[in-house]
Symmetry: C2
Subunit: 393 residues, 2 copies
Amino acid sequence: MQVYLDNNRLTQVDPQVLSAMEPFLKEPYGDLHALHARGASSRKEFLKALEKLYAGLHAPEESDIFFSSGTAENHSSLLMGIYSGLILTGRKNNLIISERSDAAMMEGARFLESQGCKVHKLPVNKEGIVDPESLYDYLTPRTALVSVPMVDPESGAINPVEEIAEICRRYEVPFHTDATHALGKIPLDVQAFDPDLLSFGGEAIHAPAGIGAVYLKDSFEWMPTVFGARNPWERYRGGPLNLAGAVGLGKALELASDALEFEMEDTRDLRDRLEEELRTLPGVIPLVAWALRVPNTVLFAVEGLESELMLYELDRGGVEAYACTVQPFGNWQRRPVTEALGLDPRLKHSTVGFALSRFTTEEEIDHTVKTFKEMLEYLRSFSTFEEVPHEQK
Amino acid sequence: MQVYLDNNRLTQVDPQVLSAMEPFLKEPYGDLHALHARGASSRKEFLKALEKLYAGLHAPEESDIFFSSGTAENHSSLLMGIYSGLILTGRKNNLIISERSDAAMMEGARFLESQGCKVHKLPVNKEGIVDPESLYDYLTPRTALVSVPMVDPESGAINPVEEIAEICRRYEVPFHTDATHALGKIPLDVQAFDPDLLSFGGEAIHAPAGIGAVYLKDSFEWMPTVFGARNPWERYRGGPLNLAGAVGLGKALELASDALEFEMEDTRDLRDRLEEELRTLPGVIPLVAWALRVPNTVLFAVEGLESELMLYELDRGGVEAYACTVQPFGNWQRRPVTEALGLDPRLKHSTVGFALSRFTTEEEIDHTVKTFKEMLEYLRSFSTFEEVPHEQK
C-alpha cells in the first residue's frame, strides 16, 4: 500500500480536472487572440473557466481575476509591482509579511530589503498564527503592503485574515492573502473579508502545478510585471495563456467548493483519528492541536528522532509524509513552527506532518497508524530517547 | 475539413508529448523537494527532462538551463532582472531590442524606458531581418542587453543571430535570443553561435502553453525575479515545478530535433506549393519571399482586402490562418512587417499568413489553395480592387 499524505505540497490531479483539460491537450485549439473558429471557441472556454473562479471565490463582478503560472509568480509579480510602482518612487518604504510566509514571498521580500525597503515579519503566536494586534507595531502610513497567508501549510493553522484585513482597511494599506491552502478546506468568500488581493496556485487543489490565479479588488491597481498582456483576454499577464491549465483550475475550484463539506467532515474525521492514535505515543507531540486548523492537516514533533530518518522509514512502509522546512532561503529563514511555538529548539529537526486529501481512505489511515507505530518502535530502539513513564512526568 | 495553419501562435500538443506527461496528470507524484519515494522519482524524471533540453540545444554541461512558465515570463523576468541588477544601480542605462520583438519584450522595454532606461529598437530591413551592422548605431559601453529573436513568427524571416552574437561578444554586451519559433524548424546549436541567453516557450513546438525554459551561458549572472527557488532542483525559478509540463517540454524538444529534417524538406515542400499556387493570383504578394525563412511559414499581403475579412472567409471554408498584429501595446507598436518592408502603408491591414506544422498534410494544403482562391474571388467581387493585367503593369 502506498499512502500519499503530502497534499499540502502537491496534490494528485483530480480525474475530472484532467477530463476537463484533455480537449486542449488532445486536439489543436486556438489562441485567444486568433481570428478563426478555434480562437473563438478558446475564448468561450476561457470565459467559462474564469466564471468558475468568480463563483469559487464569490468574487463580485466588478473585481478582476486573472490566470497566472502559480504561487511563485503570484508573489514575485506582486512584490516586483509594489517595488516598481510604490517603493522606487519613494511613495512607500515598507512591507509587512509573516515570519512564516512562503519561499517566494520571503525571497522577494529579501530582494526588496536589499533595495532599501524595510521588511517587517509578523511573529506567529503559540497557536501558530499571526496575532492581528501585532500589526499595530509595524503599520505606518508608508507601508506598501501587508501579506499574510490564510493557512500555514506546515501546521495547518488558520490565520485570522478577517481581522487583519479589517485593520489594513482602517489604515488604508493594501492586504494580500495567499489562499492556496485554504481553498476546498475552509469556506472562502472574498466579499466577506474583502482582501485587496488574493491569490492561489492549483497544485494544492487537485489541479496541475503551473497554473494559478490572482484576484484583485476593483480598487486595487495591479502593476503587471509579466508583460505583454493584450486586453481583454489576458488582462494583466502576458501570454500565450495556458488554456488547458486555466480550464483545469476552474474545474478544480468548482470541485473544491463541492467537496468542502466532505473535507470538513469526512476528511477531518480521518485526520482526527490519525491524530488521536499517534498523540498517545510517547514523545509524540501534536503541534497547534488546539488552534483553528484546516481539516486535512496534522503536524507532530517527535522527541529524539530526526525528520529525515522518520520520513525515510515511513516511506519504506509505504507512507509519504512531510517535515517542516528548516533550510534557509539565502540569509533568511522561514521561522520554524516549533520555534514559533516556543518549543525546545532541537525539535525543529524532529517534525513529521500528514496532509490528507479528499482521496484519502480509512484503510490508508489505518495503514499510516500501523506504519508510524512500527517506525517509532524501530527507530527508538536505536535512539537515545528515554521514555519517561507518564506518572513521573 | 478543418485545416489549422496558425502554428506559429499555438501548436497542437504532440500525442507523444501528452503520453509523456500523462503519468504526472493521472497519478499522484511528489514535489522535487519531498523526502519520499514519489519525490525521488520526480527528481529523476525532472533530470531526464532537463537532459533532453541540454541535448536539444546542444548546451554545454557547464551552462545552466531552467524551466519557466513560457515566453512572457522569460522576457519579463529577464528585463526585470536587468533592470534591478544593472539599470537601477546605474551601471548600465540602455537596452537594444528589435522593432519586431514580441509583446512581452516590447511592453517590458517600455516599462524600463518609463523608469529612465534608454531603449533602442533595431530596424528591420527589406528582407524582414535585423541588419547586424545597425547594432553599431546603438551599442555603447552602458548597453545592458541586446535581444533579437531568432525568427520572426509573422513573416518567418530568420535573423542573423550568429553575426549579432559575434558583435555583442566583441563589445562585451550580453546577447539574448528567443528561439521559440526556430526550434524544430532550423538547426540550433547554442555552442555554434554562443548567445549569453536563449529562451523559448513550449506552445510553438507541440508542447502545451504554460511551460518554457531559459538557457544561460555559464558566465551569465541571471538575477531571478520569480522568487523562491531552492537549489539545486529549481535553480533560478521558484516552484512548485510544473513537472508534467517540464517532461512534456523535454519530449517536445526531442521530437523537434527528430523532425527537423522532415520540417526542412517535407513541410517546406508543402509550404512552397501553397506559396507557388497563391503568388500567381492577382494582387497577392508574398512577403520576404526571397529571404532566409523557416520552412513552415508563408505570409502574404493581399491588395484591397482586409485581414479580418479574409480570415473570416477562410475560416468559413475550414482554413484557420493568421494575420499580422497591428494593435499597439500601450503607446508602442511592433512595427508592421509591411511597413518595415517599405510597402504601401495600407497593406498592413491586408496580411494573411499560413504557418504549417509537421502534422500538415497534402490534402490540407490542396484544400487551403482551393479555399483561398474561392475566398479571393468572392471577396474581390465586393471590393474596389481592380485587376491590372500583367502586361500593363
